[in-house]
Symmetry: D2
Subunit: 320 residues, 4 copies
């Protein structure tokens, strides 16, 4: 392993830069040449590949987003397109690839290795925490803290006006962001796709809170169960309190990464390069039980991350 | 003046608590008895009136929302309802009233004074900065900083994905929040109700940025010009870049008040009580040219706050 | 188990309130009566014990410090003093005790159980992360994020003036807060008690950075190695750059708890009550490998938490 | 006026970059060539002068510190050194100079204009708010918000432990930062150089608070009255409460600039360039009564900024 390249792909998440930095610095420290690929697989196809110096990763550890930029690249599903990409990588004599992104991004890494022998390792970077093989994905903790800050701001108005707020949070098909922001934010009701919900039960829960003297509610709605607006419409007439809906949107994707995300990303980035140097390929990095682990990269899409049932139960208990 | 009462009314805004605290502490310091009225005019009608102690205002200066709660009270427009309210105030021997809220809230204060002789002073509290007679309303600076934080987070994703983001900010019919968040946030285009806009010109501006090598855009849209979603639909096909819309929503209304809002609120709260003690009534407090001023309370709705044209021009110049 | 009591003891840390809330709500939910003890063991002696309602723990999840207050109580080391305390607890028919604090606080819990049969469970709450039997203590993640925010602010001045900053962080005898803030903050040198350091090597490292074109340095100094001021004096004359010292001090102890600390505290608080109900006593709660665990409470002071050597090595590698 | 140059000098402050950006963009917009001078007057002497493009000021509005770097340059007091500097400026055909910094930095600007005819305008940038001719200096509002955040964190521990905290804040010889952080932070005592204090009175005030049931105190100490440590020593034995001292230090100098600082800096930067184009020189820019004003640059050191006595009285009243 002499030359490696790093790319970020799919949706950006806070901490990606810390992973890029750690991977690049550790590789340089081991005497490797490091290339950055801009705009993910799209940039790979366009040969947007440059040799990185330590200056390129200086001062980026605390910046959200990705300095390598990111893009979607649907044509990478075609074998002939991947062949072209592999040719470009080989032109630069790149033998190893670090891909930071979601499970979709891991597919490309897997195939470029299997088809063209370029070693590739995936690092899970997404705010959704929806990848099997790791307890946390890079960006999840930052997004969680952003949601908590938003809940705290909205609670000021919820209490002042004695309203019911439905707050829609991200997470794609996964409920983790909603579950843990409810647990940590003191939410009063929680709707996530893994568990389903019945509108009349939610209404009952809100109405019951009025009976015991609680004068406002924070209902955390995972986007995976549908639009918070629609749910509010369904609740209308069933709850007595005044309702408002807030869709937190893209503020959840950015921001200075939290301590945990920077540490997670730094350790994963360094570990990925160590594994590449050891000759490993076709694997993804995970953090399980506080330990760095590896799985075959296909693990990411062949398994579904399970919701922590006990944490869900606890959130319900505390919501009462 | 022996007994005064304080209420918050209309939409809550960060800093209202600092105003309540300052008014209460200064009044107590002058030997007055201070009452808190819960839930604005609605609570006044329901006699939700309690004597405040210094303990009630302890530790509230840094909390968003309003500890006195707030509510809308449409029936207060009826003279007989106001008569009932005045009776309740007189029952408590309340001779002076401090009303913290928007121009709608000032109406009630004006009438209760004119019709029933209870002295009343208005303090402008709203994040919209849309009240004539003051350079700043309580809550505006905090909301502005919240919007800047959101812009900064969204820019991470905008730059990483090279997208055009339309960010819808509050402000009702006023463009101040949008204007100053664009100016301070380095926004690339600005749509506010006072100035209007042409869709094709916005599109031109965005396209022109691509030509000079700028790869992302932050377009700040005041809610007063309509929905950012609608505008995005109109722009579709006219701009080449990928677009996204974010409606910041109710996070703009809450949060720990900023230094400026706490100072503004503290000074206004103290000043209002001084004026009541001097025997003044039917006035609103303002901060103009860094000086505390008073206007007849009707000034708030008889005059329209003017947009600062020079600041608008500067925002346009810097957006290029 | 019918009646339990909760107290916080030793130095306060962010997240203690979330633990109090979860323990109280879960216990109430199970039909137990819950008492709060004010001012730790000192308050226990003074019978500052009150029955808690759900209102007492409402709205506290996002507040730093401890609503139960805390105090040191050296006389609790005397058996006759503990006998008096046990008598007071028995007067209230308190059969179970949840003690949130550091290892010093756990001693009292252990003895009151062994000597007087009152069941007691310890929850580790301290920003220092210096307790064996748990990967994280409540408050550590918040303190870490506070330190990162401070480093980020100081770096603005360090880069602008091209200076060397020595930043002294807390941690008592442990280096975790320094290690992980260096790792996550991109620190350029790290001095922690577990590893020691040689002044001339630190100087060499700083001077070497100048040679490779780095124009500022962030040196993270754990308080456990001594005062940053003293170290700066020793470095004087050995490094060419202008030096400044900042002692972060007590800002590291407070603040709204982070997501991780709230979740950790919530789970530990709930788990402690479950264990009490199961009849367990004389144990401490830990979070190891992302799982809730228990240890005999003496584990906290009989074992020393080990520094993660691999993380230390990584911090050194990335500091270069 | 065809070519202008911009430099930052003296201590850095948040918002300087926003001023650099606005000055540069407005000048470019008017067709001027813009130079950046690195490291203040020191860099001027070393000809560290480069032509700026819009790319150099892109993405800097929300960054603390100064991208132009800053340095002290005592030899600039010598006329022959200034002559050398002027020669270098003339070599680049620089006819106008924008100097962002404190009153010390303004001296150089004044002399280079008087002695060598290069037009120069000063913009007040310092967190200390100690410059006559302007209500606010760039960086003051950000520093104030940083101090408030620190007070809020420290109050968590102060209330939990029922202690008296002495918090030392910056401000050089000026008490503004201390005064307004006390006013906005709900401080319980205030020591500033403009007003002096008597140790026994401070002790009385703290002891009196205990009598009325207040169990903790935040004492805000301006660095201009001396070290908070020394004052704590003098208070020892006179107050019954446990005391702690925190020196906030250099975190007050950095950080993302607040909305107000960015707006202030942006307007001042743009205005300075307009004035240069109008042919003005030897002036400083101020913001008084919310309006941009100019003064002869010597105004900055010939006049002393007055403390607002009324605000001081209000802080005392509310501290009780």
């Amino acid at each position: 392993m002499k030359n490696i390249a790093i790319l970020t792909s799919g949706g950006d998440s806070p901490g990606m830069n810390a992973a890029v930095r750690a991977a690049a610095k550790v590789a340089m420290n081991k005497g490797l040449k490091v290339f950055g690929i801009k705009r993910g697989y799209q940039g790979m196809l366009n040969d947007e590949i440059f040799e990185m110096s330590s200056r390129d990763v200086s001062g980026i550890i605390d910046r959200g987003g990705t300095v390598l930029l990111t893009a979607r690249c649907p044509e990478f599903k075609q074998p002939e397109v991947r062949a072209k990409a592999a040719k470009i990588l080989k032109k630069h004599d790149i033998q190893g690839l670090v891909v930071i992104g979601g499970d979709g991004s891991f597919h490309g890494a897997d195939l470029i290795y299997k088809e063209h022998g370029i070693k590739a390792i995936g690092i899970p970077g997404t705010i959704d925490n929806d990848i099997a093989g790791t307890d946390y994905t890079i960006g999840f903790d930052t997004a969680l803290n952003t949601v908590l800050d938003a809940i705290s701001k909205i609670r000021d108005t919820a209490t002042s006006h004695e309203r019911t707020y439905l707050i829609e949070v991200m997470g794609r098909h996964a409920g983790d962001l909603a579950l843990y922001s409810c647990l940590a934010g003191g939410g009063d009701a929680l709707l996530i796709p893994e568990e389903g919900f019945k509108v009349h039960e939610v209404a009952d829960q809100i109405n019951k809170r009025r009976e015991i003297g609680k004068l406002h509610d924070i209902v955390v709605v995972a986007e995976g169960v549908g639009s918070a607006s629609d749910i509010a419409s369904q609740l209308k007439g069933k709850v007595k309190s005044e309702m408002r809906v807030t869709v937190l949107g893209h503020i959840q994707r950015g921001g200075t990464p939290s301590a945990l995300d920077r540490i997670l990303a730094t350790k994963m980035g360094a570990f990925a390069v160590e594994k590449l140097i050891e000759g490993k390929s076709g694997i993804m990095i995970g953090m399980e039980s506080n330990k760095l682990v590896t799985y075959p990269i296909s693990y990411a899409w062949e398994h579904k991350r399970e919701l922590n049932e006990k944490d869900f139960e606890l959130a319900l208990t505390l919501a009462l």
